[in-house]
Amino acid sequence: MTPERWQQVKQIFQSAIERPPAERAGFISKACADDPQLRSEVESLISSSDQAGDSIQAIAAEAATETLADRSNGFHRRQADRALRGA
């Protein structure tokens, strides 16, 4: 996807998502009237947004639980400390 295209999708998605759900379809149809590909991309993201919930945070939280609970994982303390000091 070109940067221009991404910006187009972003602008319509973000405007659509701030509208009440009942108004979204109409808004997207109008905003993408002459561009079915754009419309389908935005609709796909809206549908994914409805399903996403906390799935992304859940993946990280689960991984954090497992990683940090493993006492044998003595690694990257230096890496972590260096990164924090450099901040």
Binding site: M1, P3, W6, K10, F13, Q14, I17, E18, S44, L45, I46, S48, S49, Q51, A52, S55, I56, Q57, I59, A60, A61, E62, A63, A64, T65, E66, T67, L68, A69, D70, R71, N73, F75, H76, R77, Q79, A80, D81, A83, L84, R85, G86, A87
Partner: protein, 162 residues
């Protein structure tokens, strides 16, 4: 700050001794608690706080990704068959794959939209709230919310269309 890693470790162990099933453990809680323990609140101004979360987000991400990679490798490796078996029983392989997939998807997102990538890193791995993310990135809370909602949708689609 050098104590942050030990502190995160300790907190995680404590959380795990509680009801495992309630899944209240969040990176948010971990990072925030570590921060409160490590930084003298009377000295901490917002700028330090924001810097801490920003750095912690990046460190947390690398820590988790590195661990998932190494564990995946150890499961596949032939050098330690006994360890491989033990670990396979203890943990689900799926979660490792998920985190590595998320990391890859997030790299891809950041290459398309650097700001969205950064918002996700702070929110997901730094446990930052909307306002903290806004402060760290020098953008408005409204922009954070907008970027976050699109990034979540994009990542979710990416991870579920493999």
């Amino acid at each position: 700050m050098p104590l942050v890693y030990d502190e995160l470790h300790r907190l995680a162990s404590r959380y795990l001794r509680r009801e495992r099933a309630d899944h209240t453990l969040q990176t948010t809680a971990l990072v925030h608690e570590a921060y409160l323990k490590l930084v003298d609140q009377s000295d901490a101004n917002l700028r330090n706080r924001v810097q801490f979360f920003s750095a912690a987000a990046n460190v947390m991400r690398h820590v988790l990704v590195d661990y998932a990679r190494r564990r995946k490798a150890s499961k596949r490796g032939r050098d330690h068959p006994r360890l491989t078996l033990d670990r396979a029983v203890i943990s689900s392989e799926e979660s490792d794959v998920d985190l590595l997939d998320l990391n890859e998807a997030l790299n891809k997102l950041a290459s398309i939209d650097a700001q969205q990538g950064r918002v996700v890193e702070l929110r997901v791995f730094g446990g930052c709230m909307v306002e903290e993310t806004a402060e760290a990135l020098g953008i408005s809370p409204r922009t954070v919310k907008r970027e976050w909602s699109m990034a979540k949708a994009w990542l979710h689609r990416q991870l579920n269309n493999k």
